[in-house]
Amino acid sequence: MRPLGAGRGHVAALISIVILSAVALAAVLAPWLAPYPFDAQDPGRLLQSPDWHHWLGTDRLGRDLLSRVMFGARVSMTLGVTTALIATALGIAYGMASGYWGGRADNLLMRLLDVIYALPDLLLIILLTIMLGRGLTGMVAALSLVSWVTVARLVRGEVLRLKTAEFLDAARALGAGHLRIVFVHLLPLMMGPLLVTLSFRIPSAILAESTLSFVGIGLAPPTPSWGNMASEGWAALRFYPHVIIVPSVAIAATILAFNVLGDYLNDRLNPRPASTIRR
């Protein structure tokens, strides 16, 4: 039980924050910081290795990879954060309803969750994108519709744990309504675990999108997502590996940073032992 371990956690978390800040900065400032527009083609310099003109090289159409990675950050971060927020909101609503009402309704709502939970995420996301389309909106919708399930389970568990607490009886005795109890008395107590799931939802959305885009059924091509870039690089793997390495590093670093940060928050904020959150 030396504090040394905690110190190491700090360092890793700090590095993650630095990486994520850099990615976020690149995402927000891409139109101003990027040396070229993401779709500008330079026919004289196709598949160039990194040099002074193109710091990270160019792809098959002569587009600057550094610029594309920055615009890709914009797409991935927007998608990840939006999905995580929507999923958390949906999950809170569903979990609260289920846990707070309890009884039959709870039973029914949970059976429904079990079905969704048992199926592989990616399978459901693929089926949903067939229906919702492959634009950014369709993608976010499909991802949110799948990833709220984890949040709902978590929230329901927390509600059941807190439901019989005396302070709730006190609040009721003082005349607090259902909504007041849910929002003022229950929700603030779950902030820790919720923040942890939120930080795990973002990378899992980014991961799912890039994976789908990589095999060609994710975001439709003109969008410069990291997965699309990797997909294009895949064709040139043998002789021009930099085209796939650049987006892969971006994806890996971002997801890793989010997960390390999530683990750190989990250790700090989650009252129960590690490994309870996440699937």
Partner: protein, 296 residues
């Protein structure tokens, strides 16, 4: 459960915009009508649904829209064994790597091997399948020439894809094994065992592993789900003629019967796996046999 999945995919597929025959060059209306009649696409949705369920009960998954000469059943029959081999190999690797890693890490919490395992596990969990796969192909196939980079022509072709597929789930299993063993190690009765001087071997075998490993079994369900989703990407990456790759192609082609058929097979596999896990867990952990408490 399977009926629910069948209904769900049926509804999703019918809500999807665009039909399977929109893609290629536009067909003259009379031919189009003929094609639609052949696949019963001209009937009302309810009738199609009833027909589909009826066929399912007889084990018929219907015709493929894209591969006119083959039925969905034939395609799955050809590709499923391939996926099963890949998945089976990856599953064994997952357990081997995951449990070994977890036990190694938990044997001395905080020591370097714990740190290394945890770091590897975090990496394994975070890196997307395709990034790991690309890395392995570049290093072990293109540079070192140890293994072939793609295709499916013998056991040597199995190594890289199975390893790539197993890494993520193995990381997950390792983390859980470690957490479970450390939980058990903190129990009073283990301390009593140590205090009365039992040799570490006995402590490990009779106490820690006996009590710490059964909970790991409960994650085999999610692990299997990870393997299934992983197989789409791995089979695409390594050009393996398995079910996952056909699924991806079917999605691109909007070949609805094939999509639904494959989804159903996956769902069936997972339902069966969860059932086995529940039974196995009850058998391994006597405390579970008495209660009606579900394993998860």
């Amino acid at each position: 459960m399977l009926w629910l999945v069948a209904t769900m995919t049926f509804i999703l597929m019918h809500l999807a915009p665009g039909g399977p025959f929109d893609k290629e060059k536009p067909l003259p209306p009379e031919i189009r009508a003929n094609v639609e009649a052949k696949y019963h696409l001209d009937e009302p949705v309810a009738q199609q649904y009833a027909r589909y369920l009826g066929q399912l009960l007889r084990g018929d998954l219907g015709p493929s829209f894209k591969y006119a000469d083959r039925s969905v059943g034939t395609i799955i029959g050809e590709t499923f064994p391939v996926s099963l081999q890949l998945g089976g190999a990856a599953f064994v690797l997952t357990l081997l790597l995951g449990i070994t890693g977890g036990v190694l890490a938990a044997s001395r919490p905080g020591a370097w091997r714990d740190r290394v395992t945890l770091l590897t596990a975090t990496l394994g969990f975070s890196l997307p399948n395709f990034v790991v796969g690309v890395l392995l192909i570049l290093v072990l196939a293109h540079e070192a020439h140890w293994f072939p980079p793609a295709l499916w022509e013998g056991p040597r072709y199995l190594v890289l894809p199975a390893l790539t597929l197993a890494l993520g789930p193995a990381a997950y299993v390792a983390r859980l094994t470690r957490a479970s063993l450390i939980d058990v190690a903190a129990q009073e009765y283990v301390r009593v065992g140590r205090a009365k001087g039992l040799p570490p071997r006995v402590i490990w075998h009779s106490y820690l592993l006996r009590a710490g490993l059964p909970p790991v079994i409960t994650v085999l369900g999610p692990t299997l789900a990870m393997l299934v989703t992983g197989s789409f990407i791995i089979e695409y990456l390594f050009s393996i003629p398995g079910m996952g790759r056909f699924f991806i192609t079917a999605v691109t082609n909007r070949d609805y019967p094939l999509i639904m058929g494959v989804t159903l097979v996956y769902a069936a596999v997972i339902v069966a796996a969860n059932l086995i896990v529940d039974l196995l867990y009850g058998w391994l952990d006597p405390r579970m046999r008495a209660g009606t408490e579900r394993a998860r």
